[in-house]
Symmetry: C2
Subunit: 463 residues, 2 copies
């Protein structure tokens, strides 16, 4: 692993090359971001045509800065960017991000090759070109050159996201912020002229702030290196990938987009499986999977107990469980016998366990407790349709408490309008992920179980 990668996230000093006084310019937005995001280190604007920017003295070149620089951000047009990179090399800067486009993606392969050469020659780690760069909420590194009022930043958390596509990266950040999903580190690495997905995943594998690694890419720079790195990490930390360019049409779109060569999807899928990489098939899945893996314990097996207050939702979740290769648990007769004593006769104590539409909080409490203590149950699918008249808001506290203390994963499914959404938001704020669709929850159960198998925390076929 390149040691310099840590410099991208934890620099003590940063130079912004192309820092500008014009608020329309990327160089202005990036420089300003560092100030606004509360970056604790020293920051130097580099611009030969200005004396000072936002109260900071500017330098004509990084070579004119006396201080050691840990990280440089380059936001000047492509040919000048290459020259600036060379100066960074001479200055001994170990980490450089080139945000500028105008390289391989528009056919300027020679210019991009120069970036790779210079990176090698000076031992500089280069992220980019043609990217959004890096965002790390814990250190205040924020190169995202889209204004915060248009693109929100998520709070500090344990999900890392790396992406080849800047567009997808920007949507992901904005989306995570809105949904309240929290991020450890974000990298939009663009053309990957030097630092690539494997380098970043290797680093994130060791990063203690990161619990789940997510990646979107269209092509791999070095498939072999990617396989080696992910094989080592995937058993310890979940690595979830979404691959763009599954079809020939998608691959043609890629070639006019990033200029990557994208191989056959079947080959990728086989490789992911071999490396223990978890595979999302669309954007919606990658979010659901990341959230599940970042908040839930690994189950001991694949036996799901469904508890519901609505029959139809229980049916849909049963279908989902089976379609995702899991099984429905058969609870212990003694435990069910005990439960029977405290439930009305019309409550169905099978799987799904149907507490029916006149349920109250107490029935849920008893049912969850029973499933918790039953060794035949590995995963709990908890459907709580909150519209029913006797279920009061204290159900939120019951669910939160059991979720926090539980060693079994609990998938809470609730769906509806404003009243339901307010209660779901309360659960989310307490750190309990909620699902709207039974089918989505079932997929996430599967991915959690798959990760457990990869991590060898579940022995195959245990019962």
């Amino acid at each position: 692993m390149k040691k310099a990668i840590d410099n991208f996230f934890n620099p003590k000093s940063v130079a912004v090359i192309g820092a500008s006084r014009n608020p329309q310019k990327i160089g202005y937005i990036v420089f300003r971001n560092f100030l606004d995001a509360g970056f604790k280190g020293r920051i130097y604007p580099v611009n030969p045509n200005a004396e000072e920017i936002l109260g900071h003295k500017t330098y004509p070149s990084v070579l004119d800065i006396k201080d050691q620089i840990d990280l440089a951000v380059i936001a000047v047009p492509a040919p000048i960017a290459v020259q600036a990179l060379e100066e960074c090399g001479k200055k001994g800067i170990k980490a450089v991000t080139i945000l500028s486009g105008g390289f391989k993606e528009v056919g300027e392969k020679a210019l991009e090759d120069r970036v790779t050469e210079i990176a090698k020659k000076y031992g500089v780690g280069v992220v980019g070109p043609n990217c959004l760069g890096i965002f790390d909420p814990s250190t205040g590194v924020d190169m995202i050159f889209l204004p915060r009022y248009r693109l929100e930043r998520p709070k500090q958390g344990n999900i890392a996201f790396i992406t080849q596509s800047g567009a997808i990266g920007s949507v992901v950040l904005d989306w995570m912020a809105r949904k309240g999903y929290k991020i450890s580190k974000f990298v939009s690495y663009g053309n990957a002229a030097d630092v690539d997905e494997a380098d970043l995943i290797e680093y994130l594998g060791k990063d203690r702030k990161t619990k789940v690694i997510c990646a979107y890419f269209e092509g791999l720079r070095e498939a072999k290196k990617f396989m080696e790195v992910t094989k080592k990490i995937s058993g310890k930390k979940p690595v979830i990938v979404l691959k763009g360019g599954k079809t020939e049409a998608g691959r043609q779109a890629i070639s006019s987009h990033t200029g990557s060569m994208a191989g056959s999807y079947e080959v990728y899928k086989a490789a992911f499986k071999q490396a223990g990489v978890l595979h999302a098939t669309d954007l919606e899945e990658i979010f659901s999977f990341a959230r599940t893996l970042s908040t839930m314990p690994i189950p001991h097996g694949n036996r799901v107990q469904i508890i519901t207050d609505g029959g139809g939702f229980g049916v849909l979740l049963s279908d989902g469980v089976i379609e995702n290769g899991l099984t429905l648990s058969k609870m212990d007769d003694k435990i069910i016998g005990e439960l029977r004593k405290s439930m009305p006769t019309y409550v169905v104590l099978k799987n799904p366990m149907d507490l029916t539409g006149d349920t109250n909080m107490e029935r849920y409490r008893l049912a969850i407790d029973a499933a918790m203590q039953d060794p035949n149950v590995d995963i709990i699918g908890l459907i709580a349709l909150l519209q029913v008249p006797r279920l009061e808001a204290d159900i939120i506290e019951v669910i939160t408490n059991v979720f926090k203390s539980s060693k079994k994963p609990i998938f809470v499914i609730a769906a509806g309008g404003e009243y339901t959404e307010v209660l779901k938001k309360a659960l989310e704020d307490f750190g309990v992920p909620t699902f709207s669709y039974p089918e989505d929850a079932a997929k996430c159960m599967r991915i959690l179980y798959e990760f457990g198998l990869d991590a060898k925390k579940i022995k195959k076929g245990n019962k």
Copy 2:
């Protein structure tokens, strides 16, 4: 078709059997609903143990009411419900809904058979038992016995929803209200002792207020009748179904839920296809499909032009288009040549057409116009990532205007945080459906195209 079905939605007079003064009771909530929902007809509470309810004189039995009664709602326990139904028959009431449970679903088959017998004997149409009943926002019929603060009601529109499961029905209503999807008629028909899914679909097929018919069911009461009815309708009006109990486990869940016999999913799928019924595989799809079919014109073919400002999203939509059996259009050289003159050189005028991240509203306007006039384009996939710095809010007006006047379907895809959501909400309020995930939009393109084929508005293999 049973003529009486219209009575369920357009009654001039309603009797609520079991109307109560106790706000906890279903009979109270239903009676109150009719008053609150602005029901224009006459309404009679029936309860032998009360003099008046909410200012309305009560009657011991429907037989004591002098007026003709078009519709009765029964909300008393099962054995008494059967007796009340017999009285309704004697009174000559042509439409009765039995909300009460306690029939086939709990093993009381004999009681349910009585309902069927009485319905036949008197020629009464019976919806239920064990259901939520009917909601029609245009007439103020509202039997949903869940309080409005917990379960919102959607506004009047053109999507009809019928459901065997009350739980799914309640979530659907609540959800539609929150998302702003509008409903024509809603029926939760429960055990279908008399009126079944086929009767309802046949009625909705002729209902001028209904443009799209959605149905959730677990088993069919009479498969042959369902096939005959849907075959006749599906070419004119989309019929979308979601079938619960796709797996053996799901079917077992059903047998302890509604007591229906659910046949093999493969058989159902083949039947749906034969009848031209559109098939949703999960709850999320049924919503997306209904919204698409209720708002968009039928395309003339399956050739999709993608316009985007973010490469990665274009790649994902390309994949989605192909995976859903559609194709990417090849635009006319002359039209592209004209467009070229007004675009910067780095704009990619292929498919996807990538306007790039520095796009403004004008580029979108030109690109959309070109795709509109090009006869090689049947469907437009319009990705507008609104975070990009030069795209101002006036893009909303451009999209709305073109959507309203267009004879080609336009699928607008935008995703992000608060800023983006506010703009998307504006589009939705103007009647333009928006999508967050490219994959979801691609599925909806497919279903629209499929409906066009079924409706023979598209000749197979046209180009």
